[in-house]
């Protein structure tokens, strides 16, 4: 195991301890759940990072047609998807005890995030639909570029135009205006930590797919 992975273990442990222990200002309705900022928001940041990595490798695949780029794009998309699921589930639980409902269709960010994940479900389905690796790699790379390019619209542009319960939307103050300085001491390290953690998960996923690819090749063409 590389040094940076041990660093993540220490770093994330400190973030979780700090996230639970620091003094936070009293916010009505949110109360202690304001601490969810340290866990729920970084999920999405990790998802964006992974989808960007996936985007980069898909473009690289179309340029150079290296099989490893295809596998990297798949592994990154899958890791991003996992973090997106975490984000949706944590958001739903948070919503239950602050907004009063597990799910609301009045909340554009929530629904569009679910939609973004659906687009990725389609990506994985598309991948499983091809038997021939080269054809699969090329077509899914094109689809992935489309999928990533919807993310900024679904999660930044559109929610900001609509009334939303999330901060930063129309009618609500932006994140930078309402977030107390104390929360940022943990939030930014948490973002760094979770993004690093997602890189670790991505690394493991990529290696699993790589071993799978190599073993398939050796079984097909024994040395």
């Amino acid at each position: 195991m590389n040094l940076w992975k041990y660093l993540i273990i220490v770093w994330m442990s400190l973030v979780i301890i700090g996230g639970f222990l620091i003094q936070i200002p009293f916010i009505p309705v949110l109360e202690q759940t304001a601490r969810n900022l340290f866990f729920h928001v970084p999920m999405w940041m990790a998802m964006y990072t992974m989808f960007l990595i996936s985007f980069y490798h898909s473009i690289n695949y179309l340029r150079k047609a290296n099989w490893s780029d295809d596998i990297k794009a798949q592994a990154a998309a899958q890791t991003g998807f996992i973090f997106g699921i975490c984000g949706l589930m944590t958001g739903s639980l948070w919503a239950r005890f602050t907004w009063g409902t597990w799910w609301t269709f009045a909340e554009p960010k929530m629904n569009l995030a679910a939609l973004a994940l659906m687009i990725y479900v389609a990506y994985f389905m598309l991948r499983s639909a091809f038997d021939e690796p080269k054809k699969r790699a090329r077509i899914t790379a094109v689809y992935n570029i489309f999928a990533v390019s919807t993310i900024p619209f679904l999660l930044y542009v559109v929610p900001r135009q609509l009334t939303s319960l999330h901060p930063g939307a129309d009618g609500n103050p932006a994140f930078s205006e309402i977030t107390a300085a104390e929360l940022r001491f943990i939030l930014y390290p948490a973002m760094v930590g979770f993004i690093a953690l997602s890189c670790w998960v991505y690394n493991i996923t990529y290696r699993a797919y790589r071993v799978k690819y190599i073993s398939e090749q050796t079984i097909r063409n024994p040395l």
């Binding site: 979780i16 309705v29 949110l30 944590t90 639980l93 005890f97 907004w99 009618g171 699993a208």
Partner: protein
Amino acid sequence: MYIIQLLFIVSNMFQDSTEIIPIDTLSKVYSDKWITTVNQGEGFFASFMSSNNLIFVVLGVTLIIWTVLIVYLTRVDKRITMLENQLNHSSNEA
């Protein structure tokens, strides 16, 4: 018998005994009123989660993340074990 009782208790845990007034989330935007829509309910689950200034919601959130990551890692680990077995098997044959 015990299983049925247990199921009954568990299902009651997740039911709010006070009626939550259904919120029309499809046709009406209620973000300006959301402070008043908070109804924590009185079921065991709801009252436990909303005790101590909602701190258990934060615990729930961390546990969700932890569970999803662990389940995912276990699955990847199993896949790698399977591949290793396959590789060992094919190298034994050669």
